[in-house]
């Protein structure tokens, strides 16, 4: 797959945001907020960074693997998988509907190409990614394993079991990213459960830590992922603190946790789509 330029990535991101909003609107359910906030990350990863094959094989031998731990932001993942050729864009129309492969939270049960593990119950994805990364090491497969987690998800104890393990076992072919949008369902993380200093926490656990301060700026996101890659394979797992804004790209959705798990109305959708050019073609 050819690497897209920053300009191309930005254009793809606009379509992905349209996909997210149209999927969530069509079924009047789903999680648009953090999906929109992580759009630059997903687009940069799938269209610029990952060595991956849309002709999906579960084993992914010789490929970079991506795991989504905070499975509720499935709309952005489904859009990016579809737009990279894992399945036809029209299938996005089935999102969250009966008999669909696009389950509310990502699953393998229905065999959707691109998904390697179910997620949604939080805190589990990093452990899975570690296992996949270690299996690659056993096989002498030099690919990289990526995992995305939410910042609220850092409250789950299993994340820290995994963090301790990855450093101890020097799982340095693992790049974790945390979507630092500072929001969770009940409000700002600072009020619900203060993360205080995630950098210091991960550093003290033995990780290499980088910040991507502008997580909704495509160039910064690509540079962050490249920096993370350059720091991998040096004996430590790498974590990328991705500073994003929930709802980015739609003026009335940005910077609030209000749009964590609700769908836009017809009027709101029209307003939002007016802010996002159709670049590839709606499904």
């Amino acid at each position: 797959m050819e690497k897209q330029t920053i300009e191309q990535l930005e254009s793809t991101a606009s379509q992905v945001r349209r996909d997210i909003l149209r999927m969530v609107h069509a079924v009047q359910s789903g999680h648009p907020g953090a999906s929109l906030g992580c759009t630059e990350f997903f687009v940069a990863l799938y269209f610029n960074q990952l060595n991956h094959d849309p002709n999906f094989k579960m084993e992914g031998k010789g490929e970079d693997l991506f795991f989504l731990s905070n499975g509720h932001i499935s709309p952005v993942w489904y859009s990016v998988l579809s737009r990279s050729g894992y399945f036809a864009p029209e299938e996005m129309d089935t999102f969250r509907k009966l008999n669909s492969r696009l389950q509310g939270h990502p699953a393998t049960e229905e065999g959707l190409p691109g998904i390697r593990i179910a997620s949604g119950s939080l805190g589990q994805g990093m452990s899975v990614a570690i296992g996949a990364a270690q299996a690659k090491k056993i096989d002498g497969d030099d690919s990289t394993v990526y995992v995305l987690m939410g910042d609220g998800e850092q409250e789950e104890g299993q994340v820290w079991e995994a963090a301790m393990y990855a450093a101890h076992w020097k799982v340095d072919n693992l790049i974790a990213t945390i979507d630092l949008n500072r929001q969770q369902i009940d409000g700002p993380t600072k009020e619900i459960m203060d993360l205080i200093d995630l950098r210091a926490k991960y550093e003290s656990f033995g990780w290499e830590v980088i910040d991507t301060l502008q997580g909704n700026d495509m160039k910064s996101v690509v540079e962050g992922l490249e920096k993370a890659k350059s720091l991998s394979r040096k004996g430590k797992p790498v974590v990328n603190l991705l500073h994003t804004e929930m709802g980015f790209g739609v003026d009335f959705m940005v910077g609030t946790h209000k749009w964590h798990g609700i769908a836009p109305s017809d009027e709101q959708l029209a307003n939002a789509l007016g802010q996002l050019p159709e670049t590839i073609g709606d499904f």
């Binding site: 179910a118 996949a132 270690q134 299996a135």
Partner: protein, 322 residues
């Protein structure tokens, strides 16, 4: 008591079923290079040390972090590894139920969850560690296979067999030294019940350590003129319904025997099968909605009503209900 009985099966040696697991695990490692091991700080208790020594590059000490262990195991399956996780049955199930549910069962991952120190016969450690609900939890999960072998030889054979089976498996075994009464060369067929003793009056369906108690109970019943059939249900899920229905069609009543709660155990599986196909009286030998306590395995089986004498009593009771 058993020394003076005319037993259909005999033993010359006792050994723990966890050692059968450890030896089978080593053997599976030799047979298949994709077999890997993970353990949550209980390598000695699970008898995983020989594998670790033989295949250090395929063995991962996880520390006291069972949830993480289940996730890592799920991840390792993705490129074809066959992970065996090792910890106590309590920490292999209830502690990590959601991890097993989402990352292993729902995701259809080829993880072998190997669980020692199950049931009352763990003994002196007491109820915090004597899990009696694990079979119920595991059998409720779609895609999960649940196996509870009866002695060292059957546990070893089962361990080797699950490495060749594609899909998530819960393998349950224990700590006490226990009679070895099955064939060391036995072929272990997942999901296939084993009719150990033929009989005509009552069927005893037993699993795990209590299969031995059922063998003893059969001899006692026979000495009193009652003909009992003994069927070893080493695989609780998928259940060999045909074997159950065939036997009860002949005997007309059943006793189930297991080191587990009535709720959710083998008894419930057998009763459900009979209720749907051939309603017949069933008596449960198991723990009736209580926790265990500290004691020796023998004392506990007696106090909680799980030994051969209790199986005999249950057989007489169910016969009277025919």
């Amino acid at each position: 008591m058993e020394k003076t009985l005319d037993l259909k099966f005999n033993y010359t040696e006792k050994k723990d079923t966890r050692s059968g697991f450890g030896d089978g695990f080593l053997e599976a490692g030799h047979r298949n290079p994709n077999v890997v091991g993970l353990c949550a700080d209980l390598i000695g208790s699970l008898k995983m040390g020989a594998f670790q020594k033989e295949f250090p590059e395929r063995f991962f000490q996880v520390g006291i972090a069972e949830a993480n262990m289940m996730g890592i195991a799920a991840g390792m399956t993705i490129n074809g590894k066959i992970p065996f996780t090792g910890t106590f049955a309590n920490f292999s199930t209830g502690r990590v139920y959601d991890q097993i549910r989402q990352s292993i069962a729902y995701s259809g991952k080829n993880v072998k969850i190997c669980a020692s120190h199950a049931g009352l016969t763990l003994g002196e450690d007491g109820a915090t560690h004597q899990i009696l609900e694990d079979v119920g939890m595991m059998k409720m999960l779609p895609h999960m296979t649940v196996i509870n072998p009866c002695d060292y030889n059957q546990t070893k054979a089962a361990t080797i067999a699950i490495a060749d089976y594609e899909g998530p498996v819960y393998l349950r075994f224990g700590r006490p030294s226990w009679p070895i009464f099955t064939d060391p060369a036995q072929k272990f067929e997942i999901g296939k019940a084993w009719k150990m003793i033929e009989g005509t009056d009552v069927t005893i369906f037993a699993t795990g350590h209590l299969v031995w108690e059922a063998v003893v109970a059969e001899a006692i019943l026979r000495s009193e003129g009652i003909s009992a059939e003994v069927i070893n249900i080493h695989t609780i899920k998928p259940l060999d319904e045909e074997a159950i229905l065939d036997s009860v069609a002949k005997t007309g009543c059943a006793v189930t025997a297991e080191e587990h709660q009535y709720n959710g155990g083998l008894g419930d599986s057998v009763a459900q099968t009979l209720a749907r196909n051939n309603p017949a009286p069933v008596e449960y030998v198991g723990v009736n909605d209580s926790f265990g306590e500290s004691g020796t395995p023998t004392q506990l089986l007696d106090k909680y009503g799980l030994d051969a004498a209790n199986i005999v009593a249950a057989a007489k009771k169910v016969l009277a209900r025919k």
